[in-house]
């Protein structure tokens, strides 16, 4: 799943896929602002058919966090 999430992140934030790792922080490393993050969350929701409540957004700091989060709610 990491590869797919990386693709979505790259697309939403306008960064190159090969600069993204599981440890990349959206805000610190990838330069995302709140509008970028919302765009990314909506794209992730569309891709995985899940709903990510706003209250949970705080835990999604890195790309790896997103992978773990989606893995958890898909189960």
């Amino acid at each position: 799943m990491l590869e797919k999430v990386k693709e979505i992140v790259a697309d939403s934030l306008g960064v190159e896929v090969d600069t993204i790792t599981a440890e990349s922080s959206f805000q610190k490393d990838l330069g995302a602002d709140s509008l970028d993050l919302m765009d990314m969350v909506m794209a992730l929701e569309d891709e995985y058919g899940v709903e990510i409540p706003t209250d949970d957004l705080g835990e999604l700091v890195t790309v790896g966090d997103v992978v773990k989060y989606i893995d958890k709610i898909e189960k």
Partner: protein, 312 residues
């Protein structure tokens, strides 16, 4: 002038006065609503008691619908969200964040919910959460702004959602309003034009700054810190932008603007205060009553749209 927005809100004209901090208080809001638009109280970072008092004051001056803009980053946001329900406020607009956690309670109370958004993704999310309409605000607007312009944002949001869209940012006459209709909006929110309204309580110096502003007189501070704010250029913006370029810390930059809006609106300190204003200030040349503003706006718009002969 009936549109989906006037029908949704029960107003005569699709003109909404922005919920500007310190500026949008009960007198202005009541005057706009009384004139057939929708007046808003700007709750900003004010405590609940102040907001409650303002709501009651508006109700003393008008029986027509009005609203409150809640600033979601306010430490009093939870309290204010509840007061809107208790005081039976007809409309709420939300700014500076995502109002999802309040939507169920407001819906149950029959409050019409209109989030202010600056991107397509947030507009879609707000529609999904049950928003009745959205304000798509471009970065021509004054105060805290997004990245996209009204010209680009409004049609994209209008395409992305099925709820009505209200355009904001850069509108101050019938041409702007007619243009917003063309872009797919069914309502318009205006701030700067109402700051200089006769009923507006802002300091005379603040009004003068807007009335004499030219096209190039607003500046955006804080782009580098992720908190862009548009204001009329003065000593404060000059110093801020210089320090920002030098890479001074966010905390130190914040000190320059701390309490700056109050200083400008209440004390009339337009040199070191923050004279927030939209880019359209250059077009705002006279101090009119809210009724005159709305009549002028809507009759100009009407003439343009009905007469529309653009080709030679």
């Amino acid at each position: 002038m009936q549109t989906s927005i006037t029908k949704l809100l029960g107003i005569e004209y699709p003109v909404i006065q922005g919920g500007m901090a310190w500026v949008a208080e009960c007198h202005l809001a009541a005057a706009v609503s009384e004139a057939g638009g929708l007046g808003l109280i700007g709750a900003a970072s004010a405590p609940g008691d102040w907001v409650r008092e303002q709501i009651r004051e508006v109700k003393k001056h008008t029986n027509k619908p009005f609203g409150v803009n809640i600033m979601l980053m306010s430490p009093y946001a939870d309290e204010v969200a509840q007061i809107l329900v208790e005081e039976e406020v007809p409309v709420v607009t939300t700014g500076a964040g995502n109002p999802e956690k309040y939507i169920a309670v407001w819906k149950e109370a029959g409050i019409k919910i209109i989030p202010v958004i600056a991107s397509v993704a947030l507009a879609k999310r707000m529609e999904r959460c049950g928003a009745d309409a959205v304000v798509a605000e471009g970065c021509e607007a004054g105060g805290h702004i997004g990245e996209n312009t009204t010209m680009c944002l409004v049609p994209q949001v209008a395409d992305a959602v099925n709820i009505p869209v209200i355009a904001a940012g850069g509108i101050a006459d019938g041409r702007g309003m007619a243009a917003a209709f063309m872009l797919g909006a069914q309502g318009m929110q205006l701030g700067t034009l109402f700051v200089v309204a006769k009923e507006s309580i802002v300091h005379e110096n603040y009004k003068k700054s807007i009335l004499k502003a030219k096209d190039i007189d607003t500046k955006v501070t804080g782009r580098s810190t992720g908190h862009p704010v548009r204001a009329i250029r003065n000593q404060m913006t000059k110093e801020y932008l210089k320090k920002e370029q030098e890479g001074v810390s966010f905390e130190e930059l914040e000190l320059l603007t701390l309490g700056g809006l109050r200083k400008a609106v209440v004390e009339g300190d337009v040199k070191t205060g923050s004279v927030m204003s939209g880019q359209i200030a250059g077009l705002v040349k006279e101090e009119l009553t809210c009724r005159e503003i709305i009549q002028k706006l809507t009759s100009e718009t009407d003439a343009l749209i009905k007469g529309a002969g653009f080709y030679e």
